[in-house]
Amino acid sequence: MDFTYTETQDMIRDTLARFLGDTYDFETRQKFINSDTGRDPAIWTALAQELGMLGAPFAEEHGGLGGGALENAIVMEELGKVIGIEPYLPTVVIAGGALKAVGGAQADAMIPEIIAGNAIIAFAYAEPQGRYDLANLRTTAKKDGAGYVLSGHKSVVYAAPWATHLLVTARTGGNPRDRDGVSLFLIDANLPGIVRRDYPTVDGSRASEIYFENVAIPGDALLGGEGTGLPLIEQIVDEATVAVCAEATGVMQKLHEGTLEYTQQRKQFGVPIAKFQVLQHRMVDMFMEVEQARSMTIMGTLKLSLPANERMAAVSAAKAKVARGANFVGQNAIQTHGGIGITQELAIGHYFKRATMIEGQFGSADHHMERYERITLND
């Protein structure tokens, strides 16, 4: 048992923190998220080619740094600290995770493209009726010769406007909500019949509604088994869930630090408001939520490799705790800032918005408490 980071892990964190410190200050971020494309592609390229950061969780034979989930957590936490909108989560954590899991020629072909920064992959899994149920799919992929024909509507696909590829969940058999009959496909984002409606998200990113209108996709787009994709999807979504917990930790830390700093500057009744015990205790409660979020992220990350039930219970415990903590820290950061907190002027409000979206991402606290109970308390 050991809870220290290796030298390489410390180096990844330091290198990334330094880079983001130089390139991702709040004003710069606001500029590019409000530009036409909503991002600065040079940052992604630099993350890949100057820092090698997109190879963090990949094996050395693919050109990666030989890490895994812990390295992903480190990167996500640092991105959280700058409310980064870089598509690391869908590209590296989720699509990268799926490719690592299936291995073979598909992994050999795509992982180097991810590491080089050439591929941006968006994860099209949610549907209007599906809420957080990964098997609740109306999107279908019907066998057609050697390939498939994809039809359906995917909701709120983060990073889709920037994507070169899409990772899509679809039904190749069974009824909506069946565990069987679910498949996972990695396809080119610009195939004929893919219709996108792009929009900004409230937390500074870009996303799309995606309509597949009888899109012909090749047979080798299938990742894993046909109709048996759900366990793999659950696994990569669990990996993604602890990755957003790590991001949340970075976001929450900044919300807390920003609040500490502000209360020491802001004077009322002739003294810095940090002198008031009621605010001190509030900020201690925020601090404890940040620390517990960090602990739960580590717990969830370390338990990703356990058998499915233990993994899911751990991830759900982590996400439920982190979601509640993010809610508490975010709301209290705004409250403590007072009026200025509800303007667009300060960074704090933008951290709050990201924290709020993370609460629901891959399932709300209630959803995860229910999954946790189903696994651990049903007998």
């Binding site: 048992m1 809870f3 220290t4 892990q9 201690v284 517990q292 602990s295």
Partner: protein, 397 residues
């Protein structure tokens, strides 16, 4: 970073399990299962078994009688003792004054007191709080005035846990009335059989005689029983409080407690289903488990993380706050789970009394324990004081 147990750790875990299975006293187990109050002999029975084995003080440095276990082994030890529901060891010697003596004491103090703490020969109590000094501990007014090689001590202490059993007490006393509050305090070791000491019981909400008032009237204490410099006792006090705080996170015991609550909630019926199938009750259990996991991994980070060798710091206040809140929620949930049978008041078995108490065994102490455990957010520095400590020491406010 990993959570793996090495083959050596697994072998150690087996060894611990086997040792407990073969050596834990059966009559003690029965008494615990019935929910009886524990006597001094009960507490000492397990202490002495562990002393013989050399496992009584895992947290101590090896040179003073510690086990030299790794953080992982200590984690395994606390897990296994909690899993087997072993009676808790009294912290006053092992976790409180012991570390103060080996950190700040003279060679003579170490040589005399440490072995007696390990063997269980001396039972210790803590003379800190006073009627007028609770959270504001440094305002204490018990005085020690030098008289030749001795001090003459006068004053009153309160909330002194199990002082009725104690052979020795460690006391904070004022040795300089002129100095700033924290700077005029000294740390004294006092023989509880000294003339002038009176111990009077305070009965708490559950009916227990757990805490006491201790009166000191012209008590003569050799100056050689002062630990560390005169007027530097606050240094020892702060050191001790930080140590005490980590101990009372109580993660392993709370894990065991949750298992007990779940067992009760599987037995108790709610309609035609077990109580544990009630969505609201189940959610409370699940929330408790999740919060306990957060506490556990926060503690593990401090025990086996990058700052592991630094010793307990102010962030241990977090462990105290969250640990005590969880302990209280656990007792509240237990009381809720036992339903009607929370009400009958079980006074323990009288002399020659072999009639079975009212209600299921698991209900006997549900309410008294709930009442009693309200103490956890008050003692060891109230949770409000812990927040002040974090605000000042960690957040720099």
């Amino acid at each position: 970073m990993d959570m793996e147990f090495s083959p050596e750790d697994l072998a150690f875990q087996q060894e611990v399990r086997q040792f407990i299975a073969e050596n834990y006293p059966a009559d003690l187990r029965d008494k615990q299962d019935e929910g009886e109050e524990m006597s001094k002999e009960d507490f000492l029975a397990w202490h002495k078994i562990l002393y013989k084995k050399g496992w009584i003080a895992p947290a101590w440095p090896v040179e003073y009688g510690g086990t030299g276990w790794t953080p992982t082994q200590r984690f395994i030890w606390s897990e296994e003792t909690a899993r087997a529901d072993c009676i808790r060891l009294m912290p006053f010697g092992l976790a409180m004054v012991g570390p103060v003596i080996y950190t700040f004491g003279t060679p003579e103090q170490k040589a005399h007191f440490l072995p007696r703490i390990l063997s269980g020969e001396d039972w210790w109590c803590q003379g800190y709080s006073e009627p007028g000094s609770g959270s504001d501990l440094a305002s204490l007014r018990t005085t020690a005035v030098a008289d030749g090689d001795d001090y003459i001590v006068n004053g009153q202490k309160t909330w002194t846990t199990l002082a009725q059993h104690a052979d020795w007490g460690f006391f904070l006393v004022r040795t300089d009335k002129e100095a700033k509050q924290q700077e005029g305090i000294s740390f004294l070791l006092i023989d509880m059989k000294s003339p002038g000491i009176t111990v009077r019981p305070i009965i708490t909400l559950g009916g227990e005689h757990e805490v006491n008032e201790v009166w000191l009237e012209d008590v003569r204490v050799p100056q050689s029983q002062r630990v560390y410099d005169e007027n530097k006792g606050w240094t020892c006090a702060k050191f001790l409080l930080a140590h005490e705080r980590t101990g009372i996170a109580g993660v392993a015991a709370s894990k065991r407690g949750i298992e007990k609550v779940k067992a009760i909630a599987r037995t108790e019926l709610d309609g035609d289903k077990p109580l544990l199938a009630n969505a609201f009750f189940k959610r409370k259990v699940a929330e408790l488990e999740v919060d306990l996991a957060a506490l556990e991994f926060t503690e593990l980070r401090s025990l086996a993380g990058p700052n592991a060798n630094r010793g307990p710091g102010p962030e241990s206040s977090l462990l105290k706050i969250k640990g005590s809140e969880i302990q209280q929620r656990l007792t509240e949930l237990t009381l809720e789970a036992v339903g009607h049978y929370g009400a009958p008041y079980f006074r323990g078995f009288g002399e020659g009394d072999n009639e079975h108490p009212i209600g299921p065994d698991y209900a006997h102490r549900a309410a008294p324990t709930y009442f009693n455990m309200r103490k956890t957010t008050i003692y060891g520095g109230s949770n409000e004081i812990q927040r002040n400590i974090i605000a000042k020491m960690v957040l720099g406010l």
